[in-house]
């Protein structure tokens, strides 16, 4: 294996899982997400000479991922909003949750998935990048090629839509109460 492929492999190990799940949350389709992320990593590899160094690297990577997702969404004609995707891969093992915890988590994930699917794309993408991928507002602005002010307003609107979603109302009070 040559040096470049090793470098790509290191990138995959470091970023693939998060990028793939980010694409899943954006596209709501694991197969399309896998294609999009594969395309994104191939672009990253192809244009590795122009990868910025330092903090900008993460935003740059997610910009490529988001672009690939949008291209995939356009190719598919729509960004799918189904919430009943059948599990196609094994879930990484976590420290043995109890059955009731599993049931709760599954219900929560389903509800969040439905709520996300109902959000428009311009709100869903910043929310996913912020609260799943962990990008800052400035990094999101780079990733989606919008101004930081636009990102801020979209995050605000998206959070508000989620907070007002009746499906998540019980989970808000439950989680916030537990935190307090």
């Amino acid at each position: 294996m040559d040096e470049l492929t090793e470098s790509l492999e290191q990138w995959l190990e470091a970023w693939y899982a998060t990028a793939y799940r980010t694409a899943c949350l954006v596209l709501r389709d694991p197969i399309a997400a896998e294609d999009a992320v594969q395309e994104a990593f191939l672009r990253v590899w192809r244009f590795r000479d122009s990868i910025p160094v330092g903090d900008g690297r993460k935003a740059w990577l997610y910009r490529v991922v988001v672009n690939a997702c949008m291209s995939r969404g356009r190719v598919d004609g729509r960004i799918r909003s189904r919430t009943t995707d059948f599990e196609l891969g094994p879930e990484p093992a976590s420290p043995a949750p109890q059955p009731d915890e599993l049931a709760e988590q599954s219900e929560l994930s389903t509800l969040v998935g439905q709520a996300l699917a109902d959000l428009p794309e311009n709100l869903r993408v910043p929310l996913v990048l912020r609260f799943y991928a962990g990008l800052s507002e400035r990094e999101i602005a780079t990733a989606i090629q919008r101004r930081p002010g636009t990102v801020k307003s979209r995050l605000h609107a998206g959070r508000r839509r989620l907070a007002l979603d009746p499906r998540l109302a019980g989970w808000v009070s439950q989680l916030e109460g537990a935190a307090q």
């Binding site: 492929t5 192809r46 059948f86 998935g113 508000r160 907070a163």
Partner: protein, 383 residues
Amino acid sequence: MNDNQVSDETLESWFAAAASEYGVPADAFEKVLSAAGESAKPRAARFQHPRLVAAAVLIIVAAGGATAWNGVGHGGTPATATSASSSSSAGAAHGAPTVRSPGRTPGSTTDFSNDVAAAPAAPPAPAVSALPTGRSASFTDAMQGSAKNLGATADSAKIVHTGSLGLTVAKGQVSPVLTRLTSLATGVGGYVSSSTTAESGSRPTGTVVLRVPAGTYDTALTQARALGTVNSTSSSAKDVTGSYTDLQARETALKKTRDHYLTLLAKATTIGETLSVQQRVDDAQTQIDQLQGQLNVLGDQASYGTLSVTVTQKAPAVVAAKTKPVHHQSGMSKAWHRAVDGFVTGVEALVARSGRAVLVLIVLVVGLGLLRVAWKVGRRRLV
């Protein structure tokens, strides 16, 4: 409830829960590494110079514009309306021109409307003799050689033959000719897919659409031409092998996908899983049915050529127009008529020149559109 009630931590836990639904595919890394090894540098070099691509597009557009300009500028309509696809390699191998006999070359279209009105019907070799006259013998030989080579691959190719024929017949012969056309179709193993007759004034017309086996299409065309005076004809052959093969491949892939889902369906344990997989199975089956329908239609079109024949009764002899009587006009009247003539001539000139201007405008707009696309592609490839 307002947005302040949902903290960052809560949102992060929600999104983490939603994301945990998606397991990372086990072979994802191998797929990417494999694709990276295959795509490699030649592909990277393809769009690394978007400006070169844009320049190439500009040159092509400019050449197209210049060609169009010359075509219009010389006031010429082409001497023949024959056009053919240059993608076929058979003619090139024999050094033949790209013009081919009608109804034989995939992707070719030939239209001789009104060019054959004076030509006698029923030529002995219609595929060649239907070409514009004045061709050299070597050209005809080359065409026949090309046709033979094409015939070697015709068995596996799916070619859709379509054509139309306009016939003029003597008074009272429209109905008998239509009957003979019907007999012609059934005689070569085909059928009549539609038939209409009409009578406008004292001139009855009738149209029949014949579906004949692809192998007998030329024969049927020849025999149909012999039934009257040909006043228009057009014929085309389109190779749909690629589309047919593509549809077949998609159908095969979808069947595999459906079988895979059926396997998953057997393993589903909950109602949610069952419904989810069943939905996928139904979707796949629907797409398979649609593809099957398209394959059937395409297969039918390739198996049977379509020939539309319009039969018209010959018009009665036109009585020569009477000579316009000469009026003695005053000077003012002559001046007025000259002014009207000048005005009409000016308007005609404007209209005639506007065609060229519109053509140039269209070429410019298309060129700019292509440049814009090339620029966008170039920029997109940078990230």
